[in-house]
Symmetry: C2
Subunit: 187 residues, 2 copies
C-alpha cells in the first residue's frame, strides 16, 4: 500500500463550489481553484478528472447543501405560504456570509444557456422542472383554482424565482423583500 490523501474530497469540493458559485464556471480558473481548495492541480485532476468533472461535483455538493431546504418545501402543508417561505429561505441562503452570489443553479443555468453542454443543460432543466412541479402541487392545494390558472401562476412563480436569484446578487435586502411581498400579492 501507499500514502493516503492529505485532503478529504467532500471538503475540497465544497471549497470549489463556493468559488464556482461566486464567479461562475469560465471565470474560475484552475489556478484559483488550486489556491481555494488548498491542493494542487495534480490532486484536483486525480480526484475529479478535469475542471468540468469538478464543476459537476460542485453542483452535486450544492444540491445536497440545499436538500433540506427542498425537503422542507416539499413537506410543508401550508400551500402557497410554503412557496413564499421557500423564496425567503432561498434568498437568505444566497446572502449567507455576506456574499452576494445568488443561486448557484440559476447562475449556472444562465451561464450555460447559450452553450451546448448536454450534461449541464439536462441537469438544469431537471432542476427547474422539479421546482415547477413542486410549485404546482402547492398551488393545487387551493381547490378553487382551475388548471389554467395554476399553469399560469406556476410559470409566473418559476420566473419570479429565477429573477429573485439574479436579484439577490445585486439588490438590497429591502428591494428584495418588496419584490417577494409583491410577488405573492396576487396569488
Amino acid at each position: 500500500m501507499a500514502r493516503k490523501k492529505q485532503y478529504i474530497e467532500s471538503d475540497v469540493v465544497e471549497r470549489a463550489m463556493n468559488l464556482f458559485w461566486k464567479n461562475g464556471y469560465e471565470t474560475t480558473s484552475m489556478q484559483m481553484l488550486e489556491k481555494e481548495m488548498g491542493i494542487n492541480k495534480f490532486s484536483i485532476y486525480s480526484s475529479f478528472g478535469n475542471k468540468h468533472g469538478l464543476f459537476l461535483e460542485s453542483l452535486k455538493c450544492y444540491k445536497s447543501k440545499t436538500k433540506s431546504l427542498f425537503e422542507d418545501f416539499k413537506n410543508g402543508s401550508n400551500g402557497v405560504h410554503d412557496i413564499k417561505d421557500f423564496f425567503y429561505k432561498s434568498v437568505a441562503l444566497s446572502l449567507k456570509e455576506g456574499n452576494h452570489k445568488g443561486c448557484f443553479v440559476t447562475n449556472t443555468f444562465n451561464e450555460f444557456s447559450e452553450k451546448e453542454d448536454e450534461i449541464i443543460n439536462e441537469q438544469m432543466s431537471a432542476f427547474m422542472d422539479n421546482l415547477k412541479q413542486i410549485i404546482i402541487e402547492k398551488l393545487k392545494t387551493d381547490t378553487t383554482k382551475d388548471e389554467a390558472i395554476i399553469t399560469k401562476q406556476a410559470n409566473y412563480l418559476v420566473l419570479a424565482k429565477h429573477g429573485l436569484a439574479a436579484a439577490s446578487r445585486v439588490n438590497t435586502k429591502e428591494e428584495i423583500d418588496d419584490y417577494i411581498e409583491m410577488i405573492f400579492d396576487n396569488i
Copy 2:
C-alpha cells in the same frame, strides 16, 4: 492623404454588438469579432483601441438602438399601461430574428456584477436608475397611491423587468406572456 477605411465604423460596431449581446463580454473572443465584423484585428484596434473600448461602443450602439423604445415609454400618457407595453416591446426586441439573447444591458449588468469595472458598472447603474425613475413617474399618475406603495411597486417592477430579460433568453413565449400578465395583476 491616403487610403480610406473600407468599412463603416457604425456598421461593424453593430455587428460586434450582436456578438457581445449573444455571448457576453468574456466569451466573445477577438477572433470571433474579426469574423463577425468582417475586418481584422488591426482595424478593430485602430478604430476602437481595445476589446473593452469596442464593448463600450457596442453598449452605445444598443442604447441608440433602444432609444425610440425608451422615448415612447417616457412619452406615453397611459400610466401603468405604458410600463406593460414597454415590457412587451422589450421582450419582442430581445427575441428579434429568432435569437434568444435577452436584454444586452441586463446581460452585461449580470456579467459585470461581481467584477470591478467602474466604467461599466456606472453605466449599468445609471441605466437601471433611469428605468426606475421612469417607472416611478408612471406610477405617480395614479394619485391614489402614496409614496410608500409607489416605492414598493417600483422596486417590484424593476426586478420583474430584470427577471423578464433573463427569462427571454430561455423561456417560451407563452411562459413569458403569462409572466407579464401576472406581474401587472396587482399593480
